[in-house]
């Protein structure tokens, strides 16, 4: 079974994010990067499927700057077999659509039975690349899955999706695109042996022309959404401590809620 896992390198969830003064982006100085946590669930699931079946190949693919290769190396150290890196200045600044298009194009050139992504990237939270890619590839999709079972004949999969107050169980024909939600599994740590072996694994490089895409179709130029400005969330105002007898405090509170907070 050939499985493709799409992953994105994102700032560590523990990092403190600062917006650049001109609002054009975030300060990258001092930020450590990790594999997007939801993509780690996708990768872990792919590795488990391969282990369960006792055969198969897991290819990890990312679109990102040269630094994003670290994410691929980590994935290879965890057990993926091959990497594909879409890296070129022309890819920069792309929206979900441009990214999905480039990824879909790279995937078209590869054999696959299953494509797994994270449900969203924790940096821009758009949650669109997986579904858009499925559309572009003409494949069925199921998003936000918490359980995945491959049928014995490997033509179908049963997935569990988290929906409001319940879980939805779906049967999907393969190949398909699934996006992973927390709860799907507990990702492993790369073993030291895996880390030592990762450098021997192949990472294929792509730019727009090797994917048969023109520079206008990728990155900022190929995007339908343009980011105008980033601004930090307003900092939380300091709390107020009311004083006096309980009775006085209660009436002060009501007054503040009505006149200042304007919520009653």
């Amino acid at each position: 079974m050939k499985i493709i896992v799409c992953l994105k390198q994102v700032p560590d969830t523990a990092a403190t994010i600062k917006v650049k003064p001109d609002g054009s982006g975030v300060e990258t100085e001092g930020i450590t990067y990790v594999i997007n946590p939801y993509d780690e669930f996708a990768l872990e699931e792919a590795l488990r499927i391969k282990e369960r079946l006792g055969e198969g190949e897991v290819t990890v693919i990312t679109l990102g700057p040269p630094k994003a290769k670290e994410a691929l190396r980590t994935a290879l150290a965890m057990g993926a077999d091959k990497g594909v890196h879409l890296s070129d200045p022309a890819f920069e600044g792309g929206d979900s659509y441009a990214t999905a298009k480039a990824l879909a194009r790279a995937i078209q050139g590869l054999p696959y039975d299953l494509i797994l992504c994270g449900k969203q990237a924790v940096d821009d939270d758009a949650a669109q690349v997986g579904p858009a890619m499925a559309e572009l590839l003409g494949l069925p999709q199921a998003c936000v899955i918490t359980k995945l079972e491959i049928d014995a004949n490997r033509k179908k999969a049963v997935v569990h999706r988290q929906i409001e107050g319940a879980s939805e169980i779906m049967e999907v024909s393969l190949p398909a695109v699934f996006t992973a939600q927390k709860g799907l599994n507990e990702p492993r740590y790369p073993s030291l042996k895996g880390i030592m072996g990762a450098k021997k694994k192949e990472i294929a490089e792509h730019n727009p022309s090797s994917l048969g895409l023109s520079p206008e179709e990728v990155g900022l130029a190929g995007s339908k959404v343009k980011i105008l400005k980033l601004s930090p969330p307003p900092s939380r105002a300091t709390g107020k401590i009311l004083e006096g007898e309980p009775r006085e405090q209660a009436s002060q509170l009501v007054k503040l809620l009505r006149e200042e907070a304007k919520i009653i």
């Binding site: 190396r73 980590t74 150290a77 073993s191 030291l192 042996k193 880390i195 030592m196 990762a198 450098k199």
Partner: protein, 379 residues
Amino acid sequence: MDLSLTEEQLLFQKTARDFATKELAPIASQLDEEGRFPSEIVKKLGELGFMGIAIPEEYGGAGADYRCYVLALEEICKACASTGVVMSVNNSLVCDPLYMFGSDEQKRRYLTPLAKGEKLGCFALSEPNAGSDAANQQTTARREGDTYVLNGTKIFITNAPEADISIVFAQADKTKGHRGICAFIVEKGTPGFRVGKVEKKLGIKASSSSELILEDCRVPRENLLGEEGQGFKIAMATLDGGRIGIAAQAVGIAQACLDASIRYAKERVQFGQPIASFQAIQWMLADMATQIEAARLLTYRAAFVKDKGDRFSKESAMAKLYASEIAMAAGVKAIQIFGGYGYMMDYPVQRFFRDAKVTEIYEGTSEVQRMVIAHSLLA
């Protein structure tokens, strides 16, 4: 000397850090309080390749080097120094001598499961009357046909209660002095071989140290490690590597002291301001950070020299001496910065302080390290 870390080393450091923060840090205080051996953690460390880091893959190891080893150990010890010593003993004091001096059969039979972390090892050199003077071995080995008969008592042996495989030193020919000492591989369950008193300790309470008692314990000749009379040389060569591990352990403990101190100093308010705004506190933090950096560089350098294949006794002794002394000093400062709270068992700095002390003692006291360094200067 290039001390910048490679991509693999950085990834390995990150993995060790993630593991230590997620799996170990949350339970370290409890392990210490209960004096409980972290068997589940040790099993996971084995699966990750942490129990035989510098041993080649063909013998079950991860095929990395001492630089990876010190990176991992620092991260593990930052969270839990007890777990660190369990790992360090298995890597440096058991796997290393088996790899350096073992026959191919011994490597396959004993080293492979140890390096994989499927089995645990211990190193039994110290005796009631052979501490710093390790050559004064009272444990005897008498040759009888195809076996050696061992008699004696070892003390303070880390991992001994849990160990499957022990490296035991004994005197086979008193007339030859330290050239009469032999090293043996003794399996758990060998008749006449048992665990004696398990010690109650000041620190590293989640690792265990105990006596090992040998009473007419018969060990087959195939279990002689190296040559007859080579035991003391094996012990000294092993400890040279081990000291790099203890240096890394000390750096990890010292870093834990600094991290906790910085966090606390920013939060604790006295005289209307965080105590971090007082120069007296800032200077303590600055000194700690500088000493830790120096200790870390000495440790990396010792690992680097060892990986290169050069002599490294002096480098490892210097790293261990300096790192252990600044770890102890960092423990003292951390408690000072925490004030009364630092003295209470509810805060972790008292554990770092207690754990730091042993790094100045085992695998050669600070005095012994100075002897080793001076010896190499004056040789």
